[in-house]
């Protein structure tokens, strides 16, 4: 019995080791700075992570299904530009928001249809990676062409300007997280996605319409990126064609740090929320410690690599029955 318990603890460490390490950093920082643990700072962190968080929720489903979506960053820019243009030039507030969400879902639909069409009898993750990489480049360029690279400043007021204010970003993020958690854990839809991520050929053979699910996950990821774009453009009251550059990496980093395996079939929404919050807190802690943007990039990149290395290592240890 004692051995079993010991194994359980080592499994827990293997599953959440990186998160624990990061939590340790946070505790250290909280001792250094007084206003770190204030309610205001905590709310601030949640507000900051809500944009990346909503994106990360969408992309976790894609990753659980064994795919990848690199185009979400440029979808975020596109969505911001769409909603700002609609609000400014056509004074269409609610419709503008809907159109931005639709634009995100539409790009996701294109991604999904292409990827569903080309993944033949055997699954090839590399292809969704490269297709969405191409899409990222094309959509970013499209947004630049539309705006000529110029910032669009909002006029303020109206429905759209409220979405990014006060508690709304947090409410949207938490609400989306609950919906996604239920979707992935309590519905046949979610279970099927885990099935596909674990063993696509088996899913195909047991009659799962893999193509439908492939399209669906990319539409969801696109929609989430669109929503993130609406929140961000409302929060800063501006939209730019480069707003989302590199943000897909932040979202993917959160998923990876949370411990969702990039090979598909493992992980979950709860882990992504943890990853988002931990990275957000880390960023805030680095700010408090006066670490500037560029060294933060170095740390962020290293964390992604370490997280994946840790994941591979943990998988190996588990195969050997928990012995280090």
């Amino acid at each position: 019995m004692g051995k079993m318990k010991k194994n359980k603890i080592s499994y827990l460490l293997l599953d959440y080791g990186l998160l624990l390490a990061l939590l340790l950093i946070i505790v250290v920082v909280s001792f250094i700075s007084e206003n770190f643990f204030s309610t205001n700072n905590m709310l601030n962190i949640l507000r900051q992570v809500s944009v990346t968080g909503v994106m990360a929720l969408g992309v976790s489903i894609v990753i659980i299904a064994g795919h990848m979506d690199l185009s979400i960053g440029s979808i975020l820019s596109l969505s911001g530009v769409v909603v700002m243009t609609m609000v400014n030039d056509y004074s269409m507030d609610g419709v503008g928001v809907l159109m931005a969400l639709g634009a995100g879902a539409a790009v996701g639909l294109i991604n999904g249809v292409i990827i569903a069409a080309i993944t033949g009898k055997k699954a090839r993750t590399g292809e969704s990676f490269i297709i969405t990489y191409g899409m990222q480049t094309a959509i970013a360029a499209f947004t630049l062409l539309v705006t000529n690279g110029v910032y669009i400043n909002g006029k303020g007021g109206g429905f759209h300007s409220q979405i990014g204010k006060g508690m709304w970003p947090i409410i949207i993020f938490v609400g989306m997280a609950i919906v996604f958690y239920l979707l992935m854990n309590k519905t046949p839809f979610g279970r099927t996605i885990y099935f596909i991520g674990n063993n696509e050929p088996a899913a195909r053979m047991s009659g799962v319409n893999v193509k439908f699910y492939t399209v669906a996950i990319f539409v969801i990821a696109g929609f989430c990126a669109g929503l993130a774009g609406v929140i961000l453009s409302s929060r800063v009251n501006a939209a730019s064609s480069t707003a989302g550059n590199g943000m897909e990496l932040d979202a993917i980093a959160a998923v990876v740090v949370g411990g969702t395996a990039l090979t598909g079939g493992k992980g979950g929404i709860g882990r992504t929320v943890l990853g988002v919050v931990v990275l957000g807190v880390l960023q805030n802690a680095l700010h408090i410690l006066n670490v500037t943007t560029y060294p933060q990039m170095i740390i962020r990149g290293s964390i992604i690599v370490l997280a994946v290395l840790f994941d591979v290592l943990a998988g190996k240890i588990k195969e050997k029955g928990g012995k280090v």
């Binding site: 069409a117 191409g134 360029a141 090979t263 560029y294 740390i299 990149g301 992604i304 690599v305 591979v312």
Partner: protein
Amino acid sequence: MRTAEKRIKFQPSKYIVLFLLIFLTILMTIMLDNFFTFNNIKNIFASFSVYGVTTIAMTYAIICAEFDLSVGSIMAFTSLVFANLANSTNLVTAIIVSLLVGLMFGALNGVIVAVGKVSSFVATLGTQIAIKGLALYYTDGYQVPIYSTTAYKMGNGELLGIPYLVLFFFLMLSLAWYVLKYTRFGRNLYAVGGNYDMAKLAGIKSWFYKFMIFVILGFCASISGIMIACRVASGNALHGADLTMTAVAAVVVGGTSLNGGSGGVWRTLAGLLVIYLLFNALTLLGLSAYWQQFLKGLIVIIVIVADALIQRHKED
């Protein structure tokens, strides 16, 4: 054995790229007055020789079924190292140290992928951000002008009307072609990329090849970094931002399959030519650089889709 048969039967768009190249050249010669002039052709070659060197290395990686997103960041970082050292010491030291930096980053990627067994997409996604951060941190985001006139001459001089950079590109291309075709290293690359497990069973140290691929990529990316620094007489953390996309586009347009195990460097040259001919046409037509970017993304998607559909057709 089935996969081996399939590979022999299926040779992705083997001649499509050549037809495309000839078609584009004829079309553009007819449509655009100033296209088929010596100066314009020279310009096309000069504009891709910098990225071309890394694109050759990317061909190796894709033959080996690997991928590197970090080459742009390595290129940016080495351009800064080169610029700083060219100003403070001499050119030889600057070149040697820059190349060593490239080798070091390449080896880092190689260890993570080959020894750590992390997928190369994700590993280089991480190092891409980290190295870019390092480059920005190094000079606080400022560009570094190079004062050496020799460096400028290296980047802009010509021999018999052909730029040094173009000559150097073809030197590298020939070397890469020779290694791929006539050495054991080259042949084993195809084996490792085609079927990792089979190559392992045949006694090939697969991890070593995966490792070497990233060392070569890092090395070539640092060469591109030195080349761009000489050409524009400055090091900049923003150099090479679109290097990965351009390299991948050129390799896949050339017809090297992303599944690994097939392809070659001459195909990559054809791919580079097709892409830069299109860019050149856009410039001559007076369209903005954003269109080039848009086209690049679109080309990659179209080629991958076409490739997959042709493959599906052959399988059925």
